[in-house]
């Protein structure tokens, strides 16, 4: 019986399989896979083969499938499960040939069927887990959005009540707080709509003159710059310079970068938006004076729910959504740290061919 052969030769098979796994280039073998994974996979295979020797085809499939899914829950990746099962299968057939252990056609069929079913279940489980993670992330994002919107609405209502009762004068600090919260709600909703459009592939790229995007960004950023005591300069570009983008999405992403730059630059500092041409690309740099980033933090900035502000205002979703938006426009968004000075956020987009 095959399961008896595998049980008797367990240590030899483990050593052979480990050697195969260790030689693999991708996915990169892990210590956990070599020490725990290989014996675990082999023992599970023995259990399936034992079931197969006594039970029906359906029992075999159920047993193998359950084990394929179980391996994922133990932290092995779907690629590891598939490759390791393949290596075990090879090790068994090679050893059986070397020692003249006959494997009957039925046993060989069962061995392959067990592996196929386990692999199929691993893939199915992986897909289900991934969909669950995506759904969880969406729920978390929607919840965070509603929470932040409610906070801003609460502040606005409280401020409005103070103004209405005469406890605070129109034109004073309370009115400024109300105005700022209204604007933040506006930004939240705009950003959320951009996110929905990007996620639903509702992106309409068209030829747009870059100077229009920059001028709009300057108009929108100037008020906030004034409120924060930061100077903002947007350098002009040649009027014929164009990009193929969704103008609403790119404008939203650029507005968010400028808003962040203004937020993190100290009062009295300067934020510059500079667009240049590099080969076939248009490069838009948003240069701030935030003081620079802690080491290793540059990539973290683009993760969802990263809060970078001391007063924790905002959702921590802005850069995450901005990057998605720029990528939907066919571009890239990245950051360069200038230690002790600030950050340069760069949008790089393919330049549109000159119109004839």
């Amino acid at each position: 019986m095959l399961h008896e052969f595998v049980t008797t030769r367990r240590e030899d098979l483990i050593a052979r399989t480990r050697a195969k796994v260790a030689q693999r280039s991708a996915p990169t073998p892990t210590e956990n896979e070599l020490t725990s994974g290989v014996p675990l996979f082999l023992d599970q295979l023995v259990a399936v083969l034992r079931v197969a020797s006594a039970k029906t085809k359906q029992d075999i499939q159920t047993s193998a499938s359950n084990r394929g899914g179980e391996l994922l829950h133990k932290g092995f990746t779907v690629a590891q499960v598939i490759r390791d099962y393949g290596d075990i299968c090879q090790a068994i057939t090679e050893l059986a040939t070397e020692v003249n252990e006959p494997i009957t056609p039925d046993e060989f069929h069962t061995l392959n069927k067990s592996l196929d079913d386990a692999m199929a279940e691993a893939v199915t489980s992986f897909t289900a887990q991934r969909e669950l993670r995506i759904a969880d992330a969406e729920t978390e994002r929607a919840g965070a959005f509603a929470h932040e919107l409610r906070n801003r609405l609460s502040a606005t209502k409280l401020g409005f009540a103070l103004l209405r009762s005469g406890a605070a004068p129109f034109g004073g600090s309370v009115a400024a707080v109300v105005e700022s919260n209204l604007e933040r709600m506006n930004v939240l909703i705009d950003r959320s709509l951009v996110n929905v459009r990007v996620d639903s592939n509702n992106v309409h790229n068209e030829r747009v003159a870059l100077h229009q995007i920059l001028e709009e960004a300057e108009i929108n950023g100037t008020l906030e710059a004034k409120q924060r005591g930061v100077s903002l300069s947007v350098l002009p570009v040649e009027s014929h310079l164009s990009v193929n983008v969704d103008p609403h999405i790119l404008s939203g992403a650029l507005a968010n970068l400028i808003q962040n730059a203004l937020k993190f630059t100290r009062s009295g500092g300067h934020v510059a938006v500079v667009a240049t041409v590099k080969d076939e690309h248009v490069v838009i740099d948003v240069v701030d004076e935030c003081g620079g980033l802690p080491p290793g933090k540059a990539q973290e900035l683009f993760s969802a729910f990263r809060q970078h502000s001391k007063n924790r205002s905002g959702l921590g979703l802005g850069l995450f959504i901005s990057r998605k938006g720029v990528e939907a426009c066919g571009g890239t968004l990245y950051v360069r740290d200038v230690p002790g000075t600030g950050c340069v956020f760069t949008i790089e987009l393919p330049r549109a061919a000159n119109a004839d």
Partner: protein, 132 residues
Amino acid sequence: MANVLIVDDDVDVAELSKTLLESGGHRIRVAHTGQEGLKSLAAWPLPDCLVLDVDMPVLSGPEMAHEMVLHDAGEEGEEKIPIVLVSGRVDLADVAARVGTPYFISKSTDDYGADLLEMLERALRETSSKRR
């Protein structure tokens, strides 16, 4: 007139609440985390009442209230400093029960400002009558 400490990480809500309670004739101090709130308690004469947000970084409202119990920072004479718990959370009543305060208001009520003033007055009144 009472001395009130507002602890809220939302800078805007904290400042607006300060303006509101000052218009009601109270003296207000503001902190933006539970930790800042504890420092404020230690550094100043104890307030007559605390307006405490629930979700805050570093040290949350319930954690700050727990620390106050541990360090007797909330004791003044025989009665603890009353805590008015504020939040937009739907489980605010449960959180308030765990903190041990009967005073709590949802930030999403229609008239949060009036409700806050009323709840503060009630907390001050009831604590004062217990002390007598």
